[in-house]
């Protein structure tokens, strides 16, 4: 397969498609969150803009675009301007490795798709996909940190410092709960992880504890309740984005929801079998990739739903509880579990336990 116009077109098409799908999901997620919260609190929620208030998010977006973007006098211009970009950029870049469905072949023949073009249903099929996601979420820390400091005001600073401490800590927990998946699947490639879970061998059951911890760490990583200390409104006004308004605020808002979508999609990829589903079995029907994408999105929506559910249900943690949970519970238990998984997988591969424990 040589590089030509078609390859470039397919690449661009994938990027655009992913972008559109995710933006739609974000728009709906913002609306859905408010409606879900309303239902749970026996309110009505937004219902004016469009049918069921579906266009509410768009209306809010237009409002934010039209508003004046105020720059307080005491800010550090460079850092202040940079922070929103650093929030959005990694959020979208992390999406690159999410596999929305099985790859498919256009115009080619055979398993290697000779003479045609192979389309991955993801932006970049990296062989270190999992690490790419982790590195992008690591860069995401800077948004809150720099926004907090660059604003030159005390509440944002406190929010920023809290955010960095929280996100670095939970980054470790998040990484450690992904490692058992990588060990079990034997690859860092997200597509490979999905394939390793085909035929209902979802990692959710054998790796239940890492899955649970991944979810908890994901909540903290995206600063979602009950881990939203970063923007605890009763203590810190608006947290790190107190001094932001207009478009810049919208970028932070956007980044948060993109992150929620990404991390839910990755939860599905890592633990819920990704795009595999009961019908059709991959390759048996022409429309398998489409069904794959539908299964994938359906699962993702369920996970996003749990995010919303927890938000209205749980009270916010105290800061020391947050740190204790991460360092004293999640990380040690994850390490033990990782060890167990590694031994089990190695035993499966070699069938030779004595050698594993150093018996030569």
């Amino acid at each position: 397969m040589e590089f030509d116009g078609w390859t470039a077109l397919i690449g661009t098409g994938t990027v655009v498609a992913v972008f559109v799908v995710v933006m739609l999901m974000v728009i709906l997620a913002v609306w859905a969150e408010r409606r879900v919260a309303a239902v749970m609190q026996t309110r009505i929620g937004p219902n004016r803009a469009g049918p069921f208030g579906l266009l509410q998010t768009i209306a809010d977006g237009i409002k934010l675009l039209m508003k004046e973007s105020i720059t307080p006098r005491q800010v550090d211009r460079l850092v202040y301007e940079l922070a929103p970009l650093l929030a959005v950029l990694p959020a979208f870049l992390a999406l690159a490795i999410v596999p929305f469905g099985p790859g498919f072949c256009i115009g080619g023949q055979g398993t290697d798709c000779s003479g045609g073009y192979f389309v991955d249903m993801q932006i970049a099929n990296l062989n270190v996909g999992v690490l790419w996601f982790l590195s992008m979420s690591a860069i995401g820390v800077y948004a809150a940190l720099l926004a907090g400091w660059g604003s030159g005001s005390k509440y944002p600073l406190l929010g920023g410092v809290r955010a960095s401490a929280q996100v670095i800590s939970y980054e470790a927990a998040l990484s450690l709960s992904v490692v058992p998946v990588v060990v079990a699947a034997g690859t860092l490639d997200t597509q490979g992880i999905v394939l390793a879970q085909s035929q209902y061998r979802w990692f959710l059951l054998p790796l239940f504890i890492p899955a649970l911890f991944f979810f908890v760490a994901a909540l903290a990583e995206t600063n979602r309740p009950p881990f939203d200390l970063v923007e605890a409104e009763s203590e810190l006004v608006g947290g790190f984005h107190t001094e932001y308004s207009g478009v810049r605020f919208m970028l932070f808002f956007l980044a948060e929801y993109v992150n929620v979508v990404t991390i839910s999609a990755l939860f599905v990829t890592f633990f819920l079998g990704g795009w595999t589903g009961p019908y059709p079995v991959a390759g048996s029907v022409n429309w398998a990739p489409l069904f794959g994408a539908i299964w994938f999105l359906a699962k993702t929506v369920c996970i996003i739903g749990i995010f919303f559910w927890l938000r209205v249900t749980l009270p916010r943690l105290r800061y020391d509880q947050l740190m204790a949970l991460c360092w004293k519970r999640l990380i040690p238990i994850n390490l033990v579990y990782l060890m167990a998984v590694a031994v089990w997988v190695a035993y499966q591969a070699t069938g030779d336990l004595p050698r594993l424990v150093g018996g030569g």
């Binding site: 034997g186 690859t187 390793a196 997988v345 190695a346 499966q348 591969a349 070699t350 050698r355 150093g358 030569g360």
Partner: protein, 498 residues
């Protein structure tokens, strides 16, 4: 699962070659683990464990490894990462001895100062393991890692008395400068790798045996930077700037250990890299070592003359000693190196003993370390003054002490290489050194302590640990001064197989 099907080959693990290191590291980890579970209120228990660990490692090294390694050539283990030979085993035993002395010194110090945290002993054990791995390292990455383990522990130990400003300052300065030189050394290692394509020290020698470089620039630069990194650790001039402040600020028991341990490790690595790995570049690195040796001896001795603090004076004295030891390495011969090894052994005992006395005289908070506080010491503390006098004479190299034999064998090694200029300068430096030691000694025997009622009232307390250290070090210094042959033979055996 598909990937695991092609299982990787089992690593080459020859634990028998690193048993002493495993014992030392295991003891350190045991202490850390015990601390995590339950803390004994008396840290004496941990001191005991640490001392036993050192002793066990040293005995295993001597009984189990020493006869093996002195017979034949080096055995390489862990895919050529470490080399077990006479040289490394000698250093391992020496570092265990230094470790036992350090534990004995520290126990009473920590209790007296209220700094009794048992992590001290864990760090001591880790740092000793760093020394041992540095001597065994047959790979530049191993050298670097071992150096870092040693250094990190020493940074923390230097700042151990953290409520004291000088100690904090010592730790901070040591850390900042040490981290900087570590980076320089790493830079050098990467240049060596770029120039030769290998990190293995034995393979470096093979590379030079097979290839002739058109331009040695890259390799020379790499070698020079590695030498800089190690010269910092041994506090050789012009990389000595940290030593006075660190020696003055760090707790005396730490200095008594650090001065010896860092020198042992860095000289061992220096010898292994230069003599075994880069012997083809002898003409290039010899002048560097000469320069370091000459500058260290002269500058160290001269600056020690004008000090007014005993610990600071000892720092400059240790700088000049580094110069003397460097003569042995610069001789680029087995004789020279065995001389340097002998020197390191005697120095380990002398410096531990000297700092044991300084610690006792300094009392709580080490408040009495100025020359003024030593005025008339003999009248107040005759025994301590006499012992310190003895160590100062030994450090100066007065015949009858081990210091004299050490200087003699180092010069002998240089003489065989025909480096008379070096010997000449060394002799001059030794004479200058005698002056600054004498200056302190004379001060101690002056009879006008009446002006210091604060000192006259209380007597310095010598706890059991330092007392044992003093007894052992005095005995060793006398013994090695009169009957050095046994140790000289051992040092000769250590480098014979190389």
């Amino acid at each position: 699962m598909s990937v695991l099907a092609q299982a990787i080959p089992a690593p080459q693990t020859d634990y028998t070659t690193i048993i002493p290191e495993l014992i030392v590291l295991g003891t350190g980890l045991l202490i850390v683990l015990m601390l995590a579970i339950r803390r004994f209120s008396n840290i004496g228990w941990y001191a005991l464990i640490a001392a036993l660990g050192f002793a066990a490692a040293g005995i295993v090294a001597y009984v189990d490894l020493w006869p093996e390694v002195t017979d034949g050539a080096a055995t390489y283990a862990f895919s050529g990462m470490v080399a077990a030979d006479g040289f490394s085993t000698f250093v391992v035993i020496l570092s265990c001895v230094a470790g036992v002395l350090a534990v004995l010194l520290a126990n009473s110090y920590l209790k007296r100062e209220g700094l009794d945290k048992a992590e001290y002993f864990a760090l001591l054990l880790f740092s000793a393991a760093g020394v041992q791995f540095m001597a065994m390292a047959n790979n530049l990455v191993m050298v670097f890692l071992a150096l870092e383990i040693l250094s990190v522990c020493l940074y923390v130990l230097s700042a151990w008395n953290r409520d004291k400003f000088a100690s904090q300052e010592a730790g901070m300065k040591y850390l900042l400068l040490g981290a900087y030189t570590s980076a320089i050394m790493l830079f050098g290692i990467s240049f060596l790798y770029g120039g030769t394509g290998t990190l293995n020290i034995a393979a470096l020698a093979q590379f030079f045996a097979r290839n002739v470089l058109e331009n040695q620039g890259l390799v020379f630069l790499g070698m020079a930077l590695v030498v800089v990194g190690l010269a910092f650790k041994i506090a050789a001039v012009p990389f000595h700037m940290w030593a006075p402040d660190v020696y003055q600020g760090a707790p005396a028991p730490v200095v008594g250990y650090m001065a010896a341990a860092a020198k042992i490790a860095a000289f061992a690595a220096l010898f292994r890299i230069l003599f075994l790995g880069l012997s083809a570049m002898e003409v290039d690195w010899k002048p560097l070592l000469w320069g370091l040796a000459i500058l260290s001896m002269i500058v160290g001795s001269l600056l020690a003359l004008v000090q007014s603090d005993v610990k600071r004076m000892m720092a400059y004295s240790s700088i000049s000693h580094a110069g003397f030891i460097a003569i042995g390495v610069a001789a680029a011969s087995a004789e020279g190196m065995s001389g340097a090894l002998f020197y390191l052994v005697t120095y380990t005992f002398m410096i531990a003993g000297a700092f044991a006395v300084i610690d006792c005289i300094g009392r709580k908070d080490e408040q009495y370390t100025k020359y003024e506080d030593y005025r008339g010491l003999f009248a107040r503390e005759p025994l301590l003054a006499a012992i310190l006098t003895f160590f100062l004479f030994a450090l100066a190299g007065i015949p009858g002490t081990s210091g004299f034999v050490a200087k003699f064998v180092v010069f002998e090694g240089a003489a065989e290489g025909g480096q008379w200029a070096l010997i000449g300068i060394g002799t001059v430096a030794a004479v200058i050194a005698l002056f600054f030691y004498l200056r302190l000694i004379v001060l101690m025997y002056m009879q006008d302590s009446t002006e210091r009622p604060d000192l006259a009232e209380t007597r310095a307390r010598v706890a059991a640990g330092p007392a044992v250290v003093l007894a052992v070090t005095v005995a060793a210094t006398v013994l090695l001064g009169i009957l050095p042959q046994g140790l000289l033979d051992m040092a000769g055996q250590a480098v014979f197989a190389l």
